[in-house]
């Protein structure tokens, strides 16, 4: 009989990988603290938390897309576009709530657009989202004509700048969506079908899964979360600016990959991605605290991304 301590095997198997990267995060934080103890000041922790929220939200969306076998390169630009749009709507007299809802609807529609191109027209996800990467930022600049949209209602700033019992509000938003995504990926039929779709799309289809719908779901989720992030950033900066979020898509992908998401699809966890986002944020923060010239930041980030992806490929190859 096969009934051998199945539950124990499961627990051991799943928590191990995330433990590794958690350890890496702790060591990294420890190292930065030794060089600059200000790392652990409550002021700095707040900054990190807000950064984690931004990377985390984007990385969760990216994780869903990658698990489903795709990639979304548009999120950084979509952050800029949605931030500009929410500011534009409020500036034109719409209420905060309505502006936010419209922006989230628009960003979801962008995701639907990606999903339909990928599933119905069979355009590679890389191409269609790369198109949006360029077009969305362009559109943001068209709207702002290069000038930030300022003079937004005070109450709007709470989203990006406020806190509840000392916890930054963006972090609370992150925790909310992380919990939803965690629940979907781990406990629902939908989640299981996402992994199956990314793992082997033909086998998934032949198992009776509507693979097109599942993939569309991932692109809509990713764009929706980019919309949320765009609103948070606009609120944090108190303005709508076309230049924000440059390269965030790569940071989000890197966070997911560091967290154990496989670029070939079908593998990844939300918990891992959150830790990955934290690692990315700590590296960013560390570069500032260690007073390394900001010109070097992109160089370091580039290296981190390449390392993470190489490790992913290497990990895969070792298994086969």
């Amino acid at each position: 009989m096969i009934k051998i301590k199945n539950a124990k095997v499961l627990r051991k198997g799943i928590y191990f990988r995330e433990l590794n990267i958690l350890l890496a995060l702790i060591i990294l934080s420890f190292g930065i603290t030794i060089i600059n103890p200000r790392f652990l000041s409550s002021f700095n922790l707040q900054i990190i938390a807000r950064q984690v929220a931004i990377f985390g939200l984007l990385a969760i969306g990216e994780t869903l897309v990658i698990i489903g076998g795709g990639i979304d390169l548009s999120v950084g630009s979509l952050v800029a576009l949605t931030g500009v749009l929410v500011a534009l709507f409020m500036k034109n007299g719409l209420s905060i709530t309505i502006s936010i809802l419209i922006v989230l609807l628009i960003s979801s529609l962008v995701g639907l657009w990606h999903g339909l191109f990928v599933t119905k027209l069979k355009v590679p996800p890389f191409i269609i989202t790369l198109g949006t990467l360029t077009a969305a930022r362009g559109l943001a600049s068209v709207i702002t004509k290069g000038w930030p949209i300022i003079g937004l209602p005070e109450r709007f700033f709470f989203i990006g700048q406020g806190d509840i019992f000392g916890i930054p509000f963006p972090l609370i938003i992150l925790i909310l969506f992380a919990f939803i995504a965690f629940f979907i990926t781990k406990y629902t039929v939908l989640g299981r079908q996402l992994y199956a779709t990314g793992g082997n799309i033909e086998a998934a289809r032949l198992s009776g899964i509507d693979v097109d719908k599942r993939r569309i779901f991932t692109y809509v989720s990713s764009s929706f979360l980019a919309g949320i992030t765009g609103i948070i950033i606009a609120s944090r900066l108190s303005q709508g600016q076309a230049g924000v979020g440059g390269g965030y898509e790569l940071s989000a992908i890197a966070a997911a990959v560091i967290g154990g998401t496989s670029l070939s699809g079908g593998e990844g966890t939300i918990l891992g991605t959150l830790i990955g986002a934290a690692i990315m944020s700590v590296i960013y923060n560390g570069l500032i605290l260690l007073e390394i010239s900001s010109y070097w930041h992109d160089v370091v980030m580039g290296l981190v991304i390449v390392t993470a992806v190489t490790l992913d490929i290497w990990r895969k190859r070792k298994r086969i």
Partner: protein, 495 residues
């Protein structure tokens, strides 16, 4: 026929994990001879040719080519030695012209220091080669603008450009129409007169007698016979091809009940007007050569390929099956022919694979109850005796037989009315094979309607109540259990 020996393969053996693909096979080819190599799927023809062209390395044996022992390391090496193979799938670059393709990897060069591709020379040579094989078109036409038959001729020209003395053609006629086949045979004869030897692999036996000088028959990795083509002995060849002992134990017959599935006028890109019905508790065998459309019938039925026309009835009710999802909801399961590419998600665990089709109906609120899921999986792991340390094992780490059991189990978990099994025992060991055979009998007894596709005729014969035979996308024959034998099936299959 000149009796000068050009190739001699002696006692070639090759084993793959779980199968002895070739055991001590001899093969000799004379200069200027067309040798037909025939045998059922899995008889070892391709393996033997892949050893000759350096794709595989042999376990034992000797290859003597033009009097010298050779050890081809890879296809390129074999080409340099003078042995070229033309595969069913051509190795041409569609966006380049004929001349460039002919000399790809073998380019004439000019210049002293910086060697550049001598395009003029390539064109001139190409023209000569094309003329030699009777293809009168300009070498600057792009490959993608050619017909399949013309592309094949370019492949032949390419082999000639390499100064090959032995050309292997794998099923060269399968993609050609009648006229084109005649043209190909003409070219083959021309090459023969030039002293080039050809090994011709085919399933179409009547063609063999039209063109070949000699026939060598392989079966189960052994050479079982040799015939000259002077007398027309198709029946004898068929007998040699299939004449193994039937080792599959016949199944316990079940009570065949009323019709559960009816297919009318089903057509898709590869099949035409297929009609059949299936009863409760019946095993319907579908036989036919690879590429005959067997798989395409069940794929169209299951909604995996788009249908051009056709009606499907389940329990007398007309149903619409537009996607596998519809089929699954109607209680049809499909164990596809390629378990790794179509049947399993290799990166996922056993339990996740096994429960995948059942999840939506088991958990209608969308939330998985792990206890119930594990219970279901454990039940089937025990019932099918899937050997695994625990149900969370990644399926990639299971043996082929156990992987196949997982694919079967994932459909049984759904309690299907109709279960389609496409090559359910391909590439699995003898023990697991017998277990799957017994399982098929058991399932039929429980009242499931079963459609069984297999290239192994003994398997089809032992398990089916009724057999339909497919050739070129159409049903060419139907045999009841009592009247069926391998020879009859083969007769229909090569129509």
């Amino acid at each position: 026929m000149g009796q000068e020996l050009i190739l001699k393969m002696e006692k070639i053996s090759k084993a793959f994990p779980g199968v002895q693909a070739l055991s001590k096979v001899d093969l000799e080819v004379y200069k200027g001879e067309i040798l037909a190599l025939v045998g059922e799927n899995g008889a070892g023809k391709s393996t033997l040719m892949k050893i000759l062209t350096g794709v595989y390395t042999k376990d034992e044996g000797k290859i003597i080519f033009k009097g010298k022992e050779i050890e081809p390391k890879n296809p390129h090496h074999a080409q340099q030695l003078g042995i070229s193979m033309i595969y069913q799938e051509f190795n041409l670059v569609p966006n380049l012209d004929i001349a460039t393709n002919i000399f790809l990897g073998n380019e004439p060069k000019r210049g002293k220091f910086l060697k550049v591709f001598d395009i003029k020379k390539a064109f001139k040579e190409s023209e000569k080669l094309l003329e030699m094989i009777g293809l009168n078109i300009s070498p600057d036409i792009l490959i993608k603008d050619l017909t399949i038959a013309q592309q094949q001729m370019v492949e032949i020209a390419k082999a000639l450009a390499l100064k090959s003395e032995l050309i292997i053609m794998d099923e060269p006629t399968s993609a050609l129409a009648g006229k084109e086949v005649a043209k190909l045979f003409e070219i083959m004869k021309r090459l023969k007169n030039e002293g080039i030897s050809i090994i011709f692999i085919t399933h179409r036996l009547e063609e063999v007698f039209q063109i070949a000088d000699r026939i060598v028959v392989l079966r189960d990795g052994q050479r079982v016979g040799e015939l000259t083509c002077e007398e027309n002995k198709i029946d004898e060849v068929i007998k040699l091809m299939v004449g193994r002992d039937v080792r599959v134990s016949p199944r316990i017959e079940s009570k065949v009940d009323n019709v559960i599935l009816e297919v009318k006028n089903l057509s898709s890109h590869a099949i035409k007007n297929i009609n059949f019905s299936l009863r409760k508790g019946e095993v319907l065998g579908i036989a036919g050569l690879v590429g005959s459309g067997r798989t395409e019938i069940v794929r169209a039925l299951f909604g995996a390929d788009p249908k051009i026309s056709g009606e499907i009835y389940i329990d007398g009710q007309k149903v619409e099956i537009k996607s596998p999802k519809d089929a699954v909801q109607l209680g049809i399961g499909l164990v596809p022919e390629d378990r790794k590419l179509q049947g399993l998600i290799l990166s996922m665990a056993l339990h996740e694979n096994l429960s995948l089709p059942s999840l939506p109906s088991m958990f209608s609120n969308g939330i998985i109850n792990f206890k119930r899921e594990y219970k279901l999986v454990e039940d089937f792991v025990n019932r099918l005796r899937i050997r695994t340390p625990h149900i969370f094992q990644v399926v990639n780490n299971l043996s082929g037989g156990n992987q196949q059991k997982v694919v079967v189990a994932k459909w049984l978990a759904l309690k299907p009315k109709v279960l389609i099994l496409d090559e359910p025992t391909r590439g699995i060991d003898v023990g697991a094979k017998a277990e799957i055979h017994n399982l098929i009998s058991e399932l039929a007894k429980e009242g499931i309607g079963i459609i069984l596709i297999s290239s192994e005729l003994p398997e089809i014969l032992a398990l089916s109540d009724r057999i339909i035979i497919i050739s070129k996308g159409k049903i060419t024959g139907e045999l009841r259990r009592e009247e069926a034998n391998q020879e009859k099936i083969m007769q229909y299959a090569i129509i």
